[in-house]
């Protein structure tokens, strides 16, 4: 298969940035993650990898790097890389309660987007979203694939406090606030499952390249999952992708 052209840039004393074409496309993300998987097998263990949208940042944890040497090596490795190297990704089904008590902007948003609250919820929970990056806060996912009809402006005044688990919309994005924080997104529901949980063996079960599907749940189920999530016994349903 064809490989995308990559550009390699220096990024300080210890890091290097690899860039792909400046587009939000699943095939580009696939290529990035394939190359990451290849590099993780090929190079020593003292690197961290941060993939996002159209880039892969490599950070060396031990020594300063010589850019021109690493640039040559990476270009060669990209050329030689096995384009079929597999990465394992999952589709995670995350429960969301769209009760008006959590979905504090649902009423206003339904007017603005000219659809009923039921339609809005159905639209939001019937799509699969791709995790294009994780950053900003521990466990915060940059999700792509929001239907056009749900695109909306940020709130003109950000809230000083958005609840942990709040599910929001803004621009072309949707996502979950992994912790209480200030925020300007339109809040439509709440996910009772912590996406970043230190009590779990794997504090953040989601990885870049995974997919997320939100599943509407009633209030009673929310309460149950909330408790299960807090004590760490809830396991979100996952489906193996590209198996």
């Amino acid at each position: 298969m064809n490989k995308y052209p990559i550009t390699i840039k220096p990024f300080g004393e210890n890091a290097v940035l690899i860039e792909w074409p400046n587009k939000v496309e699943e095939v580009i993300l696939d290529d990035i993650l394939r190359f990451q998987a290849f590099l993780q097998l090929e190079i020593e263990n003292d690197w961290e990898f941060i993939p996002a949208y159209n880039s892969l940042t490599l950070i060396n944890l031990k020594t300063k790097i010589d850019f021109s040497t690493i640039e040559k090596q990476l270009l060669k490795m990209h050329k030689d890389s096995d384009s079929t190297s597999k990465r394992q990704n999952y589709l995670w089904k995350l429960p969301v309660c769209y009760d008006l008590e959590f979905g504090i902007d649902l009423e206003e948003l339904s007017k603005e987007l000219k659809m009923s609250i039921e339609e809005l919820i159905k639209m939001h929970s019937s799509h699969e979203y791709i995790v294009y990056g994780i950053g900003f806060l521990p466990g915060f996912m940059y999700l792509g694939g929001l239907p056009k009809s749900l695109e909306t402006q940020r709130k003109s005044e950000p809230r000083l406090k958005v609840e942990k688990g709040a599910v929001g919309l803004a621009g072309k994005q949707t996502g979950i606030y992994p912790q209480e924080s200030p925020g300007g997104w339109n809040i439509i529901g709440n996910c009772p499952i912590p996406v970043f949980n230190l009590k779990s063996e794997e504090p953040c079960f989601v990885s870049v390249g995974d997919k997320i599907k939100f599943e509407a749940i009633p209030r009673a189920e929310y309460e149950l999952h909330k408790i299960e999530g807090e004590v760490g016994i809830y396991t979100p349903e996952k489906i193996v992708l590209n198996a």
């Binding site: 210890n14 940035l17 961290e48 996002a52 949208y53 994780i134 950053g135 900003f136 806060l137 521990p138």
Partner: protein, 279 residues
């Protein structure tokens, strides 16, 4: 135990940092001025990742409940041990009942206290560095007790090192950041000729600078950021990310500070000046 009699303005427990979780959005945290800490951990023959106290602006008052050895570095905050002045980069023996306190801030902004063997607190994802919401506390508080090992006899191989001069530096050595090439001649002229003032908005996450330069309309996809990354906002504001800084960002990364420059900046406070020097 190390008993905190007074906590100071903002005193936190930090180590070399929390690695391996940046791809999940977890900042590395760790000491802001790594040069100071590396030296005092070396003097005490600690592991390089031993946890220390990072003291910002105003010092705490500390009661040692067990014998040990300590070493101080970083900002000069007139420290005294049982009312006798102590100096940076010297190993001191402390006995049970000794009190370490701090006075006037003379130079710098962040001071460090290392204890033989390191401080033993809650370790989260491989690091002692306090960072909420990962750790339960964002800083130490009055009456808190922090554990350390008893040490009755230690003969340091090196007893003293030369004082630092970088507390006096006002220039930050920087490299070109990934989006350096979006800068216009006006940007470059302003960036490398102006003095910039440290804004009131400065903390372990980021330092903002008061003076604005020309804005821009460059739009980019969110991508990784590092401690020391200088972001340029569309309005022309400069933000320097520090150790607790977010792991990804959407503003152009125009410059990148060296580790030494991160240490220099970590010792600056509101109202101090810096300028950038491209290497």
């Amino acid at each position: 135990m190390l008993k905190i009699l007074k906590s100071g303005f903002f005193t936190t427990i930090q180590d070399a940092g929390r690695f391996g979780f940046r791809n999940k959005g977890v900042p590395i945290s760790g000491v802001m001025d790594s040069i100071s800490v590396e030296r005092i951990n070396t003097l005490l023959e600690n592991e390089s990742s031993a946890a220390v106290l990072e003291i910002t602006m105003t010092g705490p008052t500390l009661l040692f409940e067990e014998n040990t050895y300590v070493c101080l570095a970083g900002a000069l905050i007139s420290p005294t041990l049982n009312n006798e002045p102590v100096e940076n980069y010297k190993v001191y023996k402390v006995s049970s009942g000794d009190i370490l306190s701090y006075g006037r801030l003379e130079k710098g902004f962040r001071s460090y206290l290392a204890v033989k063997g390191g401080l033993k607190t809650e370790k989260i994802l491989g690091s002692y560095s306090q960072y909420v919401p990962l750790t339960s506390k964002k800083c130490i508080s009055e009456n808190e007790e922090i554990q350390y090992e008893v040490c009755n006899l230690f003969e340091p191989k090196i007893s003293e090192v030369k004082m630092d001069t970088y507390l006096d530096f006002d220039f930050l050595e920087v490299q070109r950041g990934p989006e350096f090439n979006i800068l216009t001649d006006n940007h470059l002229e302003a960036l490398f000729s102006k003095d910039f003032t440290i804004s009131k908005k400065n903390n372990r996450m980021a330092y903002q600078l008061d003076e604005k330069i020309e804005g821009h309309s460059y739009s980019m996809l969110t991508s990784a950021t590092l401690p020391g990354t200088v972001q340029l906002t569309p309005a022309g504001k400069l933000i320097v990310l520090m150790k607790d800084g977010q792991t990804t960002g959407g503003y152009p990364r125009i410059l990148q500070l060296s580790e030494t420059s991160i240490c220099v900046l970590a010792q600056k406070k509101f109202g101090d000046f810096i300028n950038f020097k491209l290497t």
